[in-house]
Structures are given as structure tokens and as C-alpha cells.
Symmetry: C2
Subunit: 561 residues, 2 copies
């Protein structure tokens, strides 16, 4: 294995130019985004910038996606704010808490990557993720209201309208003006501008220009803020940002409530991973490349660890900027490294200017960028497609909104697991009979088949495991109690891909109960791998009947006809 990543081996001047151009656009887009998400997380602005430097370089060297752009994202920033807010950390302990979250979630991801445990992310079903993201979009929007309106908003969700009305007179008109103008500019950039641009340039260029609008709005806002001295007109501005590079440091361990951060950091890491992999796969597929989930876990894990030691905040692959990077023609992860340098330079030169930026402008960029996250159409689709998934979606959405992000996500995961277990605990089964004159056996309820009162043939359409083993026992008990003349029962195992130890116990139990009732228990059409396993068990020795290769053989031998 070479020390250099694969893409570095044939790195040409042409690729350098493409990567460089993409990096320039991504840098301009990342600056306002980084500042905004730091504000959303309740952190000083430089945390967002620092999280967009070292993590980008580390991910470029260790991740598996060629075009994913990592950095702070809206949902993780919200989760960071929610976790740290709950622990009521203050000042330097708050920023240390964010670093600790990045370190711990990085540790989790690295651990999962090294032990190839990426499958744990599958615990979060799409419905749960969708409900969670939609609720996050609402929570994020609400959290920005105080910056947009320039007032203090406190209290629970349902008290919000009352508080808003009560405080409506305290809203500073200048702040409101800045918010409205920024929102209109940003929304128009999304809705109207692209149509205009498409007439004069390619779709890729149009997308890039649209994505640069937040940077343009932020820069214009800074200029106007200085010119009009908005701060003295009552418009809150960003706190001053120290110019310079991040320093490698370590959070103050002994002041932090580590135990309380373990579960949140796990959830944060998983949510980030699920989001990032989904984006990475979509982009990779367009160029028929692929990403490797375990390698992604390691890349994202190391990126978060590096964010944690360089004054940053939790990071993952972001949707908007990855798409921009891809559309702008980035060919290799080197584009990420160039963007990191871009942010560093911006941090050095641009930082002093930031103290003139109105908070309302950043809040407007946040609100506009999370608008697309609220996926209301998904609610409708899921309702029509599956009530079970819809319940998981709604539980996650409602609990996240009312009780908090962690408990919302965990409830969603539990509900979807419960529903899955509920669905698979009743395997489909059919009493089958022979289609006269053939070797075929079909469901007696759907076809005209030959049956025999001494012989019952049962087909089970699911792998047998702990969640449905008990049901099989019951189905057989019911069928047997209805058939006084029964002498033989044959279980047709065509669809059984796996039999776990619980199901094996159930089969032993069924065999024993049938034996006590004077009925022979047979198996038919057991698949190869399942049979290999059964041969290591007691079942074949204890079985009161035989194992038949085909159901037809059993039918003939047991006197079906």
C-alpha cells in the first residue's frame, strides 16, 4: 500500500486547474456557511472557519469519496447546540464542550470504521431520518427568529406565538429591515435568479453563481453595515473574530461532563455519517465511482478528531457544498485541500471585517439554506405508501420538535425497530396441497388442490428467527388442535434462508409437542446452508419424522394420495 492516495498518482495540470476552480467557488460559499453554522451552534464565528480547515485536509487524505466536501452542517450544529444547552455549559466550557463532542463522535466513527461496524447506521431508517431532519429544519428556523427579529425569545414551542405578539413592539426596525432584505435577496437567488442565468450560461455555471449568492449578500451586508453604521442603529453584529490560524489544542477534560456527552456524540456521529454517505453515494454514482462505507467512517472519524483538536466543531459531508464542488468540476479530493487553504487565507484577511456583519444576515442565510430540509412531500408519500413508516416518521418528528433532538431520534429508532419486529413476527404461511396430476404444491386458499386429512403440508415464507419463532409454534398448535385425524406434518422450507437458535428451539419444541400428540414432524426442501447448520444441532436426531428433498417425495411416501 502506497502512502500516497490513489488519485495522487496521476495528478495532471488539467486536473489541478479543475480542482482549483472548484475550490475557489467552494471557499467563497463556505465562508458565510461556516460563520452561520457556528452561530447556530452557539459558538464564536471562528469555530466554523477552523472546522473548515484541518478536517477538509484530513478527510481528503483518508476518505473514500472524491468530491464530498466536509465541514459544519446545519443539523449537526443544531444537535451540538441542543446537547450543550441541556448541560447548561457556559463560556469557555461551552466551546470546550463542542470540541469534546467532535472528538467523541470522531472516536465513535473511527471505532465503527476499524471494526467494520458501519451497519449500525442502518438502525436509523429513512423515515426516522426524514422526520428528524424535518423537525430539525423547524427547530433551526425557530432558533434564528431571535436574530432575525433582534429580540429575546424564551419559553416552549407552544408559547412562541404569545411571546412574539407580546414582544412585537420591541423589534428594532433596522434589524427587521436587514432581515427582510437579506431574506428576499437569498430567496430570489434560489427562485428567480437561476432562471435568468440559465439563458446566458450553462446549468453548472448558473448553479455555481446561485450558490455564491450568500457570499455576495454577506459581503454587501458588511459594506453597507460600515457605510450606514448599522450597529449604532441597533442592529446586532457578529462578535469580533481573531485573525489568524487555528492552534492545536485539547479541551479541558476535567471540567466536562463526559458521561453526558457519550450518547449525544454517538447520535451526532451516526446522523452525520448517514447524511454524508447518502450524499457521497449519489455523487459517486454520477461518475460510476463508488465510496466504501467503512473507509468513510474512518475518514469522517479522523476529520472530526482533527476538528476537535483545532478549535472547530462537529463536521460531516454537507449536501449543498458537495454538489457545488462536484458541479464546479472537482476531480479529486485535492480540491478539498485547496479549499482549506482558501479558508485559511480568508480567515487571515477577512476576519477583521466580520465584526461589522449583522447577525440577522447570517440568520437569513441559515433559514434559507434549511428551507429545503423540511420535506413535507415525504410525509404525504409515506402516508400513502406505508402506515408503519408514517408512524415512525411522525413519532420522530413530533418528539424531536417537542422533547428535543436526542430523545426524538432515539424514540424514532425504537419505534421503527418495534414496528419491524411487529411486521416480521407474523411470517406469511400457507397450508399447501398438490395440484392434481403434478408435482406442484400450492396454497389451498388460492388454488384447487388435493388435500389429505392425515397429512398437513405447511409452507412458511420467511427466515425463522427469534421474532417469529413463537408465531410458528402457535400457528402449528392452532392447526393441529383443529385436525383430530392428523398423523403427519410436513414443513416446506423453500423460503427459509436462516434458522437461528431460538427458531431451532421452537422446532425442537414443535417436534416434541407433536410427538406427545402422536404426530410425526417432517421437513422438506431445506436449503443447503440451512441444512449444514441443522446437521450440527440435535434436531435431526430428535426429529420424529424425516427430511425430504422435495415435498412431492414426502407426499408420496406419507400416503398423500
Amino acid at each position: 500500500m502506497s502512502l500516497l492516495p490513489e488519485w495522487a498518482k496521476d495528478y495532471s495540470r488539467r486536473i489541478l486547474a479543475q480542482d482549483g476552480a472548484a475550490a475557489l467557488i467552494v471557499t467563497l460559499m463556505l465562508i458565510p456557511q461556516s460563520l452561520a453554522y457556528a452561530m447556530l451552534a452557539g459558538l464564536p464565528p471562528q469555530a466554523g472557519l477552523y472546522a473548515s480547515i484541518l478536517p477538509l485536509i484530513i478527510y481528503a487524505l483518508s476518505g473514500s469519496s472524491r468530491t464530498l466536501s466536509v465541514g459544519p452542517v446545519a443539523v449537526l450544529s443544531l444537535m451540538t447546540a441542543a446537547t450543550l444547552g441541556q448541560l447548561s455549559l457556559q463560556g469557555v466550557h461551552y466551546t470546550d464542550g463542542a470540541l469534546a463532542l467532535a472528538l467523541l463522535s470522531g472516536g465513535w466513527l473511527l471505532l465503527f470504521g476499524l471494526f467494520r461496524l458501519g451497519f449500525v447506521a442502518h438502525f436509523i431508517s429513512h423515515s426516522v431520518m426524514s422526520g428528524f431532519i424535518s423537525a430539525s429544519a423547524v427547530l433551526i428556523t425557530l432558533s434564528q427568529l431571535r436574530h432575525l427579529l433582534g429580540i429575546q425569545l424564551e419559553g416552549a414551542l407552544w408559547q412562541l406565538p404569545v411571546v412574539l405578539v407580546a414582544q412585537s413592539e420591541a423589534i428594532p426596525p433596522a434589524t427587521l429591515g436587514v432581515s427582510v432584505i437579506s431574506l428576499i435577496a437569498l430567496l430570489w437567488a434560489r427562485a428567480g435568479l437561476k432562471g435568468l442565468l440559465l439563458r446566458i450560461m450553462s446549468p453548472a455555471s448558473a448553479t455555481a453563481v446561485v450558490r455564491l449568492m450568500p457570499a455576495l449578500v454577506v459581503m454587501s451586508a458588511i459594506v453597507l453595515s460600515v457605510q450606514l453604521d448599522l450597529e449604532s442603529a441597533g442592529v446586532a453584529v457578529v462578535q469580533s473574530v481573531p485573525a489568524g490560524l487555528p492552534v492545536l489544542s485539547w479541551p479541558e477534560w476535567h471540567h466536562l461532563p463526559w458521561r453526558e456527552l457519550v450518547l449525544p456524540s454517538l447520535l451526532l456521529g451516526l446522523v452525520g455519517f448517514v447524511e454524508s454517505v447518502s450524499i457521497g453515494q449519489t455523487l459517486a454514482a454520477r461518475r460510476r465511482q463508488r465510496i466504501r462505507p467503512n473507509r468513510e467512517l474512518i475518514g469522517l472519524g479522523l476529520a472530526n478528531l482533527s476538528a476537535g483538536v483545532s478549535g472547530g466543531m462537529p463536521v460531516t459531508g454537507g449536501f449543498a457544498r458537495s454538489v457545488v464542488n462536484f458541479d464546479a468540476g472537482a476531480q479529486t479530493p485535492a480540491a478539498g485541500i485547496y479549499a482549506a487553504f482558501g479558508i485559511t487565507l480568508a480567515g487571515l484577511w477577512f476576519a477583521p471585517w466580520l465584526s461589522n456583519l449583522p447577525q440577522a444576515v447570517l440568520a437569513a442565510t441559515i433559514v434559507v439554506s434549511v428551507l429545503g430540509l423540511f420535506d413535507w412531500r415525504h410525509f404525504g408519500h409515506t402516508w400513502r405508501y406505508s402506515r408503519a413508516d408514517f408512524s415512525a416518521l411522525c413519532v420522530t418528528f413530533i418528539v424531536t420538535l417537542t422533547a428535543g433532538v436526542e430523545i426524538g431520534l432515539v424514540s424514532g429508532i425504537l419505534v421503527s425497530l418495534l414496528l419491524h419486529l411487529y411486521h416480521s413476527h407474523k411470517p406469511h404461511w400457507a397450508e399447501v396441497g398438490r395440484i392434481a396430476g403434478t408435482e406442484h404444491f400450492r396454497n389451498r386458499l388460492r388454488h384447487r388442490v388435493e388435500l389429505n386429512e392425515r397429512l398437513l403440508c405447511l409452507r412458511i415464507d420467511e427466515s425463522l428467527y427469534f421474532a417469529n419463532a413463537g408465531e410458528l409454534e402457535e400457528v402449528i398448535a392452532t392447526l393441529v388442535s383443529q385436525r383430530p385425524g392428523l398423523r403427519h406434518l410436513v414443513l416446506q422450507c423453500t423460503a427459509v434462508n436462516r434458522i437461528d437458535a431460538s427458531a431451532l428451539d421452537s422446532l425442537l419444541m414443535i417436534n416434541e409437542r407433536l410427538r406427545l400428540a402422536g404426530i410425526c414432524f417432517h421437513l422438506a426442501e431445506v436449503k443447503g446452508p440451512v441444512m449444514d447448520r441443522l446437521e450440527r444441532s440435535e434436531l435431526l436426531r430428535q426429529l420424529s419424522g424425516k427430511v425430504y428433498l422435495t415435498l412431492f417425495q414426502a407426499w408420496q411416501e406419507l400416503g398423500g394420495s
Copy 2:
């Protein structure tokens, strides 16, 4: 629906005689058992007797098994002791805690029964249950050492040998003598006596006599204790039992830590239910009867509620006494009602004598009765059959033994769920090709088949749901990245019984990614119910390809050959 239970309608004198005889034997067996399990739970002896009166009557009228005998059982008594011990309740609050546990677990079971949620019990796989029961048997045995040896034993599990050696000189010889004699008598009754009896009587009678040995040992011990004045020889005796009937009462709500009892009572209820249903099904099957799990939940729930208001302790169907009841010829639940009257009479007449019973004798009956619970052979079988189930078994066993019953059970459940998800997250799939000259398609790795580089046919052998949807995306991404000439991909859905919303999203994503890569995505052989559902989704509208009835049609139309 009649108010009388079904069996009461044609209740004859013959059935009365059979039920009465069974009730007599069960009563004699229940008395020592009830006292012993009350001691195990750390409760006064009458709690065990009271738990064997009202709950038996209530279960007889509401349960669905004809021969199940409910009452205190070893594992629930251990769980009660562990829960209440952790909360460090004292005196009357301790007994109130046991009543609260019975009430809450009864409430849970009733709730599950009314809402038909019995499937939640499937969360506890056989391996987890087996590991839990085995660990419980060890914990129960160890907990009785202090009664058997008449010394105080404190400290953790690994300190036990040291403590034992240190205190060996403090063991009262008389207590040790009583313990050894009782253990020998009880063990001989199990091992040697039955062989002797079988020569002179029927197996059923022999079993009944063997089961009565504990009662005989207890009665002999009382007589000898009085004759030899064992108490003054340093042998600890049972505290005095008030003669009389249980009084309906209610635990002192406001002194109890209700919140801390919620999870333990849920686990206690589920463990009791799983045990009871397994016994009930085995017994019912012998007479080709059946039990209804939701009705059982209601029966056991009401039984526990009645135990909670009549000075009892948590109850469920016990294995040993249900078998005795069955073997002694009980025909209907009326036998349980007669046994309840038997216990009542015994409580009235026998109670004053109990204060002469050495605790060591009760401890010996406990130890001998739980010997059979430690299922060491199951460890070997599970190891050979499935490493995944073996890990769940061992985690449950070790954590229960070292960290406590609740956390042990919960860890086991989580590990088995994780392992299940791990197993089902990688569905079996095969690239299939046509067997020349036929309409059959088979795995290219196992058969000589025709393939086509423009057309890829993929068979997936599992229902698609959130745990394996991501894997399918990856499999397809990998296959596509290896085949530059690919134009069509057909997914053969023969084995797909269900597609949940997560999997639907994955299919939409796959369709979109393939479209971007210039590949048409088709489905073939979709089952009826799955197709019904897909028709309510966007997939069929967005699909870049078609849905074919058979894979052969797709092969022909897409130019496979």
C-alpha cells in the same frame, strides 16, 4: 359471551374428582415452595402463601391454559429481591415494594393483552432467556448459601471464596447438619427415589410422590426442630407467620420510588409471560388444546394485580407445579381454585407451626429446585449451532451474573437485536444468467449460464427494509462501477415479500443514480402484494425502465440474446 368460562358449562362429577385430586397434590407441593420463594424474595413467609390464593382463582377465571398453575416462581422472586435490594427499601416499604412490582407488572401485562401487543415478548430471544435463567440459577444458589451455612456473606461475586474461607469457622454445626441432611434427602428424591417408585407404581404417580418430597422434608423438619429444639442449638428458623387470610390492601403509594419500578416491572412481567406461555403451550399440546397468548397476558396481568392487592408478590405460571397438576390429572382450571382453597386452609391451620421450620431447609428446597434451571448443555449446543446466538447467550449470562438481573436482560436483548440486524443487513444476492435454451435463470457462480455485458440481472433473496436497503444500494454501485458497458439492470424480486419506505427510497435513489449513469433500471417478478403497494408510490412513475412479469420477458426484450 357467557359470564361462565367455557369449561364450566359441562363440569361433571368425574372431572370434579380429577381436579380435586390434582389440587390436593399441588397444594402440598405449593406450601413449601411458596414459603421458600418468599424467603428468596426477601419477604415474610405469608407473602408466598397469599400469592398462591387469590391469583390462582383469578387466573383460573381469566387465563386460557387449562392446566397452568400460577404462583411465586424462583426467577421472579430473584428479580424482585434484586430490584428492591437496589432501591435499598426497608421493612414495610420493602413488602410494599414487592406489592407495587406485582401491581405494575400486572398492569403492563394487562395493557399488552388489551392492545394485543404480546409480540413484544419476542424481543427476548431463547438464547437471551436461557442465559438469563442460567445466571439466575447461579445467583439464587449463591443467595441461599448464607441460609445453608448460617453465616453472613457480603461482597461481590469474586470475593465470595475469600469470604467463605474467612468465615468457615463461624458456621454453626447444627445448621450445616440440617442443610446437608435436607439436601441429601431432596437430591435423592430426584435421583434415586423415582427409580424405586417406578417399579411399584405408574410414572404419573411416581412423579407426584417425588414432587411431594419437599413437603415431606419440610414437615419432618418441623417435627424434628420441635423435638430437638434446634433453635436453641443455633439453627435459624422462619419468622412467625400470622395465621389467617390475606386482607385486601393497597401499597403505600407515596413512599415508593415508582419511577424506578417501571422498567424492572416491565422486565419482570415479560420474563414471567415468556416462561408461562412456553409451559402452557407444552402442556396444552399434549392434549391437542391450545392457549391464546393475548388471553394469557390478560390472565397473568389480572393474577398479578390481585397478588398486588392481597399481600402477595409477583406471580406467573410455574414449571414444576404445572407439570404436577397436569400429571395428577387436572382437567380444568377449577383445579387451581381448589388448590387456592387448600392453601387457605393450610395457611389457617399450619401457620403457627411454621415458626419452628429451619431456614436452612427452605434454602435447600430452593437450591434443589433451581438446579435444573442451569442449562449448561444449552451453552454447548448453541456454541456448535450459531456463534451469534452464543454471544447473546454469554453476554446475558455474564452481565446478569456480574452487573445484575435488569442490566443483564437488557444487554442481552440489545445484543440479540444488533446481531439480528447485522445478519439481515447483508441480504443474499446473486447475479443470474439464463440457462441456455430454457426460461430459467440461475446464479452465475453456481451454474453455466448465458450472460450479456449490456444487461445485468440481479436476484435479491430477502425482503427489503431499512436494515438492508443501504446494502442493496452499495451492491448495485459496486457492480455498476465494474461494468463500463452496462445499459440495463433488472432486479428480480422473487424473494421480496415486503418493501418498506426506507427500501422504497433506496430503490428511487438507485433508479436516479443509474439514470445519471445512463443505465435503465427494471424490475421483474414482483409479487402481488408488493406491487399493490408500489403502485401507491412514485417509483413506478419515475422508473427509467419497466416492470416485467417474468425475467425471461425482460431478457428477450432487452436483447439478452
